[in-house]
């Protein structure tokens, strides 16, 4: 019963947090998620305008009550500066996907490049047998592109994980 209720209220949350840029903060952060029973769907990190501060974008599945509890646990970590749950309607979410696709003849190569253009992707590497493209977008866009590439045969694929930022106030 509990599990059923949980699964009904589960949705994807984007959590933004900034931490002191020092050794071990990532493991502190990741530890806390796993010990509270979460699987991190995506995580992306890099320093901000201040190189001493690393900003993480983390996406998880949760319900509202539990995600709030998780955030108050996160706020207790000493290296943490702030923790926010992003409102997806007021924020921009992007990830970069690199995908190497089988392209052994001209027809395939042309079609892959055309589809890439539709997705505003760019060809970053080309060989007689394959093409590597980079595509940027939210997970729906990169997911759709991945689906289309499956037809050609995906040789390798890498995602950065979502980074997100709040939209400016109008």
């Amino acid at each position: 019963m509990q599990a059923k209720e949980d699964s009904q209220n589960m949705k994807r949350y984007t959590i933004i947090t900034a931490m002191d840029n020092e050794a071990g903060v990532l493991s502190q952060l990741a530890h806390l998620f796993s010990r509270k029973g979460y699987n991190i769907e995506t995580i992306a990190a890099g320093w901000t305008v201040d190189q001493n501060v690393t900003r993480f974008t983390i996406e998880i599945y949760s319900d509202e009550a539990r995600v709030q509890l998780l955030c108050s646990q996160l706020r207790k970590l000493v290296p943490i500066h702030y923790v926010e749950i992003l409102d997806t309607s007021k924020s921009i979410r992007r990830e970069l996907m690199l995908v190497r696709v089988k392209a052994e003849d001209r027809a395939a190569r042309n079609e892959i490049i055309q589809i890439g253009n539709i997705f505003r992707g760019s060809v970053v590497d080309i060989t007689p047998d394959s093409i590597t493209l980079s595509v940027t977008g939210d997970d729906q866009k990169t997911g759709a592109f991945e689906e289309l590439m499956k037809d050609f045969g995906i040789l390798d694929l890498a995602r950065t994980g979502i980074v997100a930022i709040e939209r400016g106030e109008m």
């Binding site: 530890h31 709030q68 509890l69 207790k76 000493v78 943490i80 500066h81 702030y82």
Partner: protein, 579 residues
């Protein structure tokens, strides 16, 4: 450069930083990686180092010292097994919000990551059970790390902190400038400044929401059947006086958690006793019937609430706690106030609308109060209640008590009238068997003028009785009252009630002879099987206090004694299996 600046090695800097914090007692155990630190300590007789038999004993002693004095405890251990032996003690301190700084040393920088002899990532191991775990590889970072660790351990919701110092950082030299804790906390360039400015929960709490305080005063004014829960936070924030005033001005019955023991007067007429799994009928019935439940410094653990869905089901629940992550964690509240219990209660007392009486409600609640529910057996067998009554009568009234974990713990907490904060030291959250003796050593070290009673069971005592050597060496007259029922009593009780009397691996029909054990360590040992001998022995123990030798009083009780009352786990709080 400050004229007080000197060039010192890391070990001496560590000692100087401990002196800055006013540390005069350290519990610990030396070893290879921490040799430099012990070498520096050699030149500082003003710091008393208590060498235990085992690092776990040192960890519990530092914890007991912290809990009983309100100061930050300090514990040293070496790398590898020395460090991992601390982990149960760290977790115990963490679960009960006890401020302890654990200092371990690790192998040299050039050996880190090579699976070197006695190398372990103790900072990683301890991460889930500390407020913060530091690694220091650079001697220039050492002083500020130690200073920050003390602030974090004692501030906000207190808790343990671990500093793992690599051996090279204990040998390397750098400039050291003394700094008082006040100067450090006010220093704008240190991380602590950011933590304070942003009200980071590790060190601070946001401004108290005065509207919520007013609303709570209003709720208390309107409530017809209010109940207070006194939790461990009342002890930690030294809010006993304010809590007592609140209870008395509004004439509200008070239920007490294990960790709240001593924070509310043991002889007070408003006390309903312990609440929860082994709570009194008065507490649990009041919890079920009340229309307003105000919990102060309590985290609604499963041993208190049992089934959270039915907990205080007729009541609005209000919660005062310093830790925002405790709000709505286990029980959904109607009103919460984040802040230090003492500060919040002070504000609340100023907002109370009127003093009042709750005669009808009190009459109902205290109609469930039973003074004693145990009959003395006709064959003269010693009972737990006889032991506790004798101890309460014969030992000084301000005796400080530590316990291990199990039946004896519940009996002691139910029966003793703890009357001042920090009188009781017990492992409430983590339930660490083997905690009691180490803790008693810490309590006695911090309170040399007090009588210290260590209540234990035969199962718990066997775990860490090696610390009798420490007790004997430092001439600590600790009285160990051993409830010996030749079984892991609490587990047996569950096996009896729930597991069809399958006493799987709980019967302790084996040694040692505890009297001979005590004597082997050079302290008094006595086996007692009847009340008269027990009383005589306790009197002797009190009178021999100044010979500096502790006592182990092996009290033989029946194997089938049970803790009453009892509510089954996850059951409703009034659903008693045993009365």
């Amino acid at each position: 450069m400050n004229s007080n600046t000197r060039k010192l090695n890391g070990s001496e800097i560590l000692i100087q930083c401990l002196l800055e914090q006013g540390v005069d007692t350290i519990f610990g155990y030396p070893g290879g990686a921490i040799l430099n630190v012990y070498d520096a300590l050699y030149a500082h007789p003003e710091i008393r180092h208590i060498l235990t038999s085992h690092e776990q004993g040192a960890s519990h002693a530092a914890d007991g010292y912290a809990r009983s004095t309100g100061k930050v405890g300090v514990c040293f251990a070496t790398s590898g097994p020395g460090a991992t032996n601390l982990t149960t003690g760290i977790a115990t301190a963490y679960m009960d919000s006890s401020p302890v700084v654990f200092i371990t040393c690790n192998v040299n920088n050039d050996l880190i990551g090579r699976d070197s002899f006695q190398e372990v990532d103790i900072a990683g191991v301890s991460l889930p059970v500390t407020k913060c775990s530091y690694i220091v590889s650079d001697v220039t970072k050492l002083a500020d790390t130690v200073r920050e660790a003390f602030v974090i351990a004692r501030s906000g919701r207190p808790g343990p902190v671990l500093i793992d110092i690599q051996k090279n950082a204990t040998a390397g030299e750098c400039d050291y400038t003394p700094m008082t804790p006040e100067e450090f906390e006010a220093h704008p360039d240190r991380r602590i400044a950011r933590l304070k400015a942003t009200h980071h929960p590790s060190v601070s709490y946001p401004d108290i929401n005065i509207h919520a305080v007013e609303e709570l005063a209003d709720m208390l004014d309107k409530a017809e059947k209010p109940l207070l829960i006194c939790g461990g936070g009342v002890v930690r924030s030294e809010a006993s006086e304010e809590f007592r005033e609140l209870a008395h001005r509004l004439d509200i019955p008070v239920a007490i958690t294990v960790m709240g023991g001593g924070a509310f007067g043991g002889y007070d007429d408003l006390k309903t006793g312990m609440i929860g799994m082994h709570g009194s009928q008065a507490s649990n019935m009041a919890c079920d019937a009340c229309d307003l439940l105000l919990a102060v410094g309590c985290r609604f653990s499963d041993r208190v609430t049992l089934n959270p869905a039915g907990f205080a089901k007729n009541a609005k629940i209000a919660h005062i706690d310093i830790d925002p992550s405790e709000i709505d964690k286990n029980v959904k509240t109607d009103l919460h106030i984040i802040g230090d219990a003492k500060a919040v209660l002070k504000l609340l007392l100023g907002k109370l609308k009127r003093d009042r009486h709750n005669d009808e409600w009190k009459k109902y609640v205290f109609s469930f109060k039973r003074e004693t529910e145990y009959d003395d057996p006709e064959d003269g067998t010693l009972t737990p209640m006889q032991i506790l009554s004798a101890a309460a009568e014969i030992l000084p009234q301000d005796t400080m008590v530590t316990t291990d974990v199990g039946q004896h713990q519940m009996w002691a907490i139910q029966h003793f009238r703890f009357d001042y904060p920090r009188q009781l030291t017990t492992s409430g959250g983590f339930g660490t068997m083997g905690f009691g003796l180490g803790a008693a050593i810490g309590v006695q070290a911090g309170n040399p003028e007090k009588t210290v009673l260590h209540v234990t069971g035969d199962g718990s005592f066997r775990m860490n009785c090696n610390e009798l050597a420490t007790e004997a060496y430092y001439k600590m007259p600790i009285i160990t009252l051993l409830f010996n029922n030749s079984t892991l009593g609490m587990v047996r009780q569950w096996q009896h009630l729930i597991y069809h009397e399958h006493y799987s691996q709980t019967t302790l029909d084996r040694g040692p002879d505890f009297v001979k054990l005590a004597e082997a360590y050079g302290i008094h040992g006595r086996c007692v099987k009847d009340e008269a001998t027990l009383r005589q022995t306790l009197t002797e123990a009190v009178n021999s206090r100044f010979d500096g030798r502790g006592w182990v009083i092996d009290c033989r009780i029946d194997i089938d004694e049970m803790v009453r009352p009892m509510v089954g786990g996850n059951s409703f709080i009034t659903n008693f299996m045993l009365y």
